[in-house]
Structures are given as C-alpha cells and as structure tokens.
C-alpha cells in the first residue's frame, strides 16, 4: 500500500514540475557546487586564536544562563566535580565512558564516595540520577553551544534525563561559528562507508532547557536539564 502511495506521490510531483510522469535525467538544475559555496565566514581572523575563542565561548554560555568555567588541568576538573557533588549532596550519578572521563576515573571515584551509578541501559535507573557528566565533542564560540555525538560510550540520555549536566570541553575543540563547525563535522556524516560509523544522534546544546509558554515569562528547566556547567579544559 505504501508502495502505491509512493508511486502516486512521485507521479504527482513529476507531473506538476515537468508535465510528464517520467523521472528526469540528472543533474540539470541541481547546483552540485553549492556545497563548495561557503557562506561568508563570520569569524574574524583575530578570533581564530584559541584563547579568544575560549573567552567568547565562556561569555556566550553565561549570557544564556549556563555556567562556564575555564579549568587549567585535568585534576582541576576532577576537583570541581567532587566538590560540586558533595556540596549538592547527590546520591545517584551517570557518566560517559569517553576517553577523558575514563582517564580521569570519574566513575570509580564517585562510586568510592558512596554515590550510585545509574546505567543508561535502564531508563528508570537514569531517572534517579541527580547529575549526568559528559564530554563535549565540539564547542561553538559565538553561541555558547556544545556539540555531543552519541555512540556506545557516549549515550544520549546522560545529558538529557538528569536535572544537572556537566560537560567537559577541550579548548582546542572550540570553533568560531556554526559554519566552522559544519566544516569540521560534515565528513562524519557524508561519504562514510558504513552507517555503523555515523552517529545516530548529534545534539547541539545551548544553555539549560527553557520555555516562555506561560505569559511569556522565561522559565528554566522545563523537560531537559535545569542547570548546565561547561568546564573548558586547557
């Protein structure tokens, strides 16, 4: 049935565009070179400097009610997380198994402090987690956006279900604007041999969850995390 609908819809489209129901030979009007027409870069030359990008990134995250800090060492990251978790009295946590987080040994350290690990396999366990800790694969400076690519060691729900999200971003992964970002990541999606190597979900996160649906009052923390902390690592 869907097969017939498919043929019918394509037939209607072709009739409407070309006056005939036969598929056209390609390419005639397709602008294949549009991909190469980069939109004019917004990033100044000055800003391609890593330090400037970091400063801009931190500013932008704070502008949209996120928290952002520059941390100069991996130990600094670990200290921050431990202090934070203690101050808030958290009991459950969840964390990515990415390279950096593994080398920082976050999971074991938190478990040894008496916190319980919630596994992303189990959504009801995840619902108990007070905090989710991830890395960020990229950062976009002019909007304060972090980019997360899902895979088996980087599950989606870690940055989504808990109310608090901490993301660690290496400063050399910060790019100037969305065009720069797509220049970096397109090869992760286009021309990839096996679909198993394409992430099932890439997420852009810019600040905490928000709405203005009630009388246009801005409220934070609707369905996604209420608070986000981005730790930029030198």
């Amino acid at each position: 049935m869907s097969r017939d609908s498919r043929e019918e819809i394509l037939r209607r489209i072709r009739k409407g565009l070309y006056g005939s129901t036969e598929p056209k030979n390609r390419p005639t009007k397709t602008k294949e070179n549009l991909t190469n027409q980069e939109p004019k870069e917004i990033t100044d030359e000055f800003l391609t400097n890593k330090k400037a990008l970091t400063v801009q990134f931190l500013e932008e995250v704070r502008k949209i009610s996120g928290n952002a800090d520059f941390v100069d060492s991996e130990n600094g990251i670990k200290d921050f997380i431990l202090r934070f978790v203690e101050e808030r009295g958290f009991q459950f946590f969840t964390v990515w198994d990415s390279d950096l987080l593994r080398s920082l040994n976050i999971r074991n350290t938190l478990e040894s402090r008496g916190l319980q690990y919630a596994s992303p396999d189990d959504k009801h366990e995840m619902a108990k987690a007070d905090i989710g800790i991830t890395e960020a694969d990229f950062g976009i400076a002019n909007s304060g956006t972090i980019v997360l690519l899902a895979n088996e060691r980087q599950p989606r729900t870690v940055s989504l279900i808990p109310s608090i999200h901490i993301a660690i971003l290496k400063s050399d992964k910060i790019v100037g604007n969305i065009n720069d970002l797509f220049a970096h990541i397109t090869n992760l999606f286009v021309g990839v041999e096996s679909v198993d190597n394409i992430t099932s979900c890439m997420t852009f996160i810019t600040g905490p969850s928000r709405t203005a649906d009630i009388e246009l009052n801005l409220t934070l923390g609707v369905h996604g995390p209420k608070e986000i902390y981005v730790l930029v690592l030198d």
Partner: protein, 477 residues
C-alpha cells in the same frame, strides 16, 4: 475530519472584541518581533543568508522527486523505515498501525504542525491509544481542550492564573501563583509519561537527502526526550521539508532560529540518522519517517504559487502581520495562521473551504520583508484572489465584486479622469460632509457604503483648502 468552511470575517470580528486575547497577542508578537529585529541587526550576514536559503529551497522544490528518492534511500541505509502518505488520513493510519504493531499504549508527542494538520491525536485516541502533548504550551491547551492561538506560543491567550486553575483542576495540584511552580508541575507530570511511553512522535524541521538525517529544533527538551527514550520514534514530515545536502543545514538553521525567536541558537538541535546503532546503550530501536503529500503536490503544480512550499515554519510573518496581531490564530480556521495560513490553507483545503483567507490581508508586504526564504506573499495572495474571483464567476456570482464595488470603481474612474469634475467634487465634499462632522473634527459614522469604513475607524474631516491649492500658494512665495 471534515473541515467546515472557514469564516474569517465572522471569527475575526469576534476575536477583535476579545480584549484579553488582543493584549496577549500584542505582547507576544511584539516580543518576537523585537527579538527578531535585534537578531537581524546583530547579524550582518542575515540578508545574504536569506538569499542562500531561498536558493536552497528553490533548488529543492524544483527537483523534489529526486531529493525525496535520495532521502528514502539514505534513511533506509541508516536502518530507518520510510512510509509514504498521499493524504492526512493515510498518514494517521500509518502511524496508528506502527503503534498497534508495536504494542504501544502511550504516545508522547513533541510539537509538529504536520501532526495537527492530520489530527493525529484524534486518530490515536480512536484506536484506543493515549497521546500526550509534551511541549508545555501544547500540553496546556490539550488539557484545556482548546486550539492554539500562536504557532510558537500556543497557550499565550491563557494567563498564569488560568493555567494555575487548569492544573489544579485536571492534575489535582494546589493552586500555584508562579510560572516556575507551574513549569515544575508540568515537568514532573510529563516526566512520568516520557518514561513509560512506548512511542514518541515528532515533526521534522529539515530532512537531509544526502545523509538521511533529520534535524529537530526546540528549547524545552521534550523533543529530545520523545525521540530518545521510547522504543519507537515516528517522525512526520511534509514532502517539502527535504533539503539536498548536509552542508545546507547551517544556513537554514541560522535563518530559521533567528527569524523565529531571535535567538542565536535554540537550546537544543537534534540531528537524528536512523534508529540507535546496535551497540548504543540508549535510543529508539525503530525509526520511522512518514513522508506526506496532503495537497502539497497540488501547490507544486502551480508555478505562480509554488514558492508557498519554501516555508520553513518560523512564524516571523505572523509576528509582523498587522492583521494577525489583531485577531490571532483561531480566525484562520485551521492549523496554519497569519500570512502563511492565508496562502497555504486555501491551497491545501481548496478555494471553496477558504475563499475569505486570501482577502485577510492589506497587502502591506511586511511578511515578504521578514520571510527568511523571501516568499513573495503579496504576489501569491493576488494570484489566489484571482482564483477566488474565477471560482465565484464559475458559480454564477458574476465575478467577486459586488454591485457597490463595481459602481464605486466606475464612479472613481470617471471622477479621476475628469479634472474639473474632480475639483468640483473635492470642493463640494467640504460642505457635503457637514451633517456627519463631529465637534472634534472627525467623521465617525457615514452612511452606506462609506459606513463600511467608519464602522471600524474614524476618517479625518475634509479640509477647507485642498492640498493642490495650498501647494500653489506655497510655490508662489
């Protein structure tokens, strides 16, 4: 479900009398408008991006069959399943079947105009399933059993007291006073639904043909939850939502977000390519993309109005439209309102159902000025007006112009073509206006047919000396 003939004139008259609605609409549209304006001022490249965005859309629409086939192939390669729906009824049926086949009892829905177009919730409920809207504004109006008044902020006509009472009534909560408390209630209530639903339904902002990736833009996080936690994810899109390349995304996302809310970036953008990978720990096991026609191919076939399909559903035209600002969404009679509603509703539902809508406009063109893909609304509206006139003529109503309109145009022509007659009439009108002139120099209530103006607005008095005369005098000095 059968849509009744849309009565814009009647419904908008009623809306004009609703002062609360008017206030809410004004606040909302003003807020979005100034945000959009600020965003475009800060962002010099926006004008250039709009041109590129239109180019991308026009290339897509002109080769739509090609890109849809490419999309189908790549979604399938990524492990997703494609379904084609000729019309809304078929789209609903397909989605219900997916749900029943998957043993689904509860569906969580994120915001999607397409699903409202096909009245999906109704179809799901008829099949014995529960469907919950998760966007806060949509959730509120679902509880209240009302229709949305604005595309981006559907519950804007409700005050926080209205919402407070609604929650306490339907959810048994105390009567809260602050939006934070109300939002917390919604968060906790809907969290339970996200965690127990077997299926999530979403819309699609853009579907990339080159990679089979769909992009979903939001601020609340409900689309992420709906498309990540349940076992089955179904996305519904109109055929016109496909775009050619992955590299087209930053252009279209930039113009969409800035035009809609004036933000640099929305809180979340999800780029989904198929279901979860086998080794992923979370994510849906099944991904279905329903590609729906429902009248769009008819628009495609009409060269003069084809650009109606370029719309990326940003809502900028609603916020700038002087008509929409006054009357809100309900008067447009269907899911799409404002200028975009005025052009696509008659084309999707048929001229007979929506003949008043192409006239629900002063042709000021503000919508064309703000449209991120530069749709020429006035041109399309005029073309649709022509069709209404032709349709009426076919049905023996002698053209759309009534007797007085034709008489008035004739009189106008005669007086404009004859200089002395014009001068005489101008001179006389100063005296003729006397019986209707109020003490403060206004014409508040003129006889028919002029009453059609003065019912809603005052006219200034005709001056004693005509501008022509005064200009002559000034020039002599």
């Amino acid at each position: 479900m059968e849509i009744n003939k849309i009565q814009f004139k009647k419904d908008s008259s009623a809306a004009l009398k609703d002062l609360n609605l008017k206030k809410a609409l004004r606040n909302t549209t003003d807020r979005f408008r100034s945000a959009r304006k600020k965003a475009s001022e800060e962002f010099d490249e926006l004008e250039e991006l709009r041109n590129k965005a239109r180019e991308i859309k026009s290339e897509t629409i002109d080769n739509l069959d090609h890109y849809l086939e490419m999309l189908e192939s790549n979604v399938t390669k990524a492990g997703g399943k494609i379904h084609w729906a000729k019309d809304g009824e078929e789209a609903s049926r397909i989605i219900v079947e997916i749900a029943l086949k998957g043993g689904v009892k509860l569906v969580v829905k994120s915001k999607s105009m397409a699903t409202e177009e096909v009245e999906l919730n109704h179809a799901l409920e008829k099949a014995g399933l529960k469907a919950v809207e998760t966007d806060l504004g949509e959730y509120i109006i679902q509880l209240a059993n009302e229709r949305p008044s604005h595309i981006l902020a559907p519950a804007i006509h409700k005050s926080k007291d209205d919402i407070s009472r609604l929650f306490s009534e339907k959810l048994n909560t105390p009567v809260y006073t602050e939006p934070e408390q109300l939002t917390k209630v919604a968060r906790e209530t809907l969290r339970k639904e996200f965690l127990s639903a077997e299926m999530g339904v979403s819309g699609v902002n853009f579907a990339v043909a080159e990679t089979g990736t769909i992009a979903i833009v939001e601020n609340e996080g409900n689309a992420r939850l709906s498309t990540t936690v349940p076992r089955i994810h179904v996305a519904l899109m109109g055929i016109e939502k496909v775009i050619p390349r992955f590299r087209d995304l930053p252009i279209l996302l930039s113009v969409l977000i800035r035009s809609a809310t004036g933000q640099k970036m929305s809180t979340y953008v999800s780029f989904i390519t198929g279901p979860k990978r086998k080794i992923d720990k979370d994510g849906p096991e099944e991904f279905h993309l329903v590609i729906m026609d429902n009248g769009r191919s008819r628009i495609l076939a009409s060269e003069e109005t084809r650009e109606s399909l370029y719309c990326i559903r940003c809502g900028a035209c609603l916020n700038i439209c002087p008509v929409y600002r006054q009357v809100g969404g309900h008067s447009y009679g269907w899911v799409y309102s404002g200028p975009i509603g005025a052009i696509i509703t008659p084309q999707l539902l048929g001229i007979e159902k929506a003949s008043e809508l192409p006239f629900a406009s002063s042709l000021c063109g503000a919508c064309k000025d703000v449209c991120p893909v530069r749709i020429d609304f006035p041109k399309v509206l005029l073309e649709l007006r022509k069709r209404v006139v032709e349709w009426k003529a076919e049905r023996g109503r002698g053209g759309a112009a009534g007797f007085f309109e034709r008489l008035g145009v004739r009189a106008w022509r005669i007086s404009m073509e004859n200089k002395s007659l014009y001068k005489l009439l101008s001179y006389l009108s100063y005296f003729l206006q006397y019986p209707w002139l109020t003490s403060d120099g206004r014409l508040r209530s003129l006889p028919y047919p002029f009453s059609r103006w003065t019912e809603d607005r005052d006219l200034p008095a005709v001056a004693k000396t005509s501008f022509r005369k005064r200009w002559k005098e000034i020039r002599r000095i």
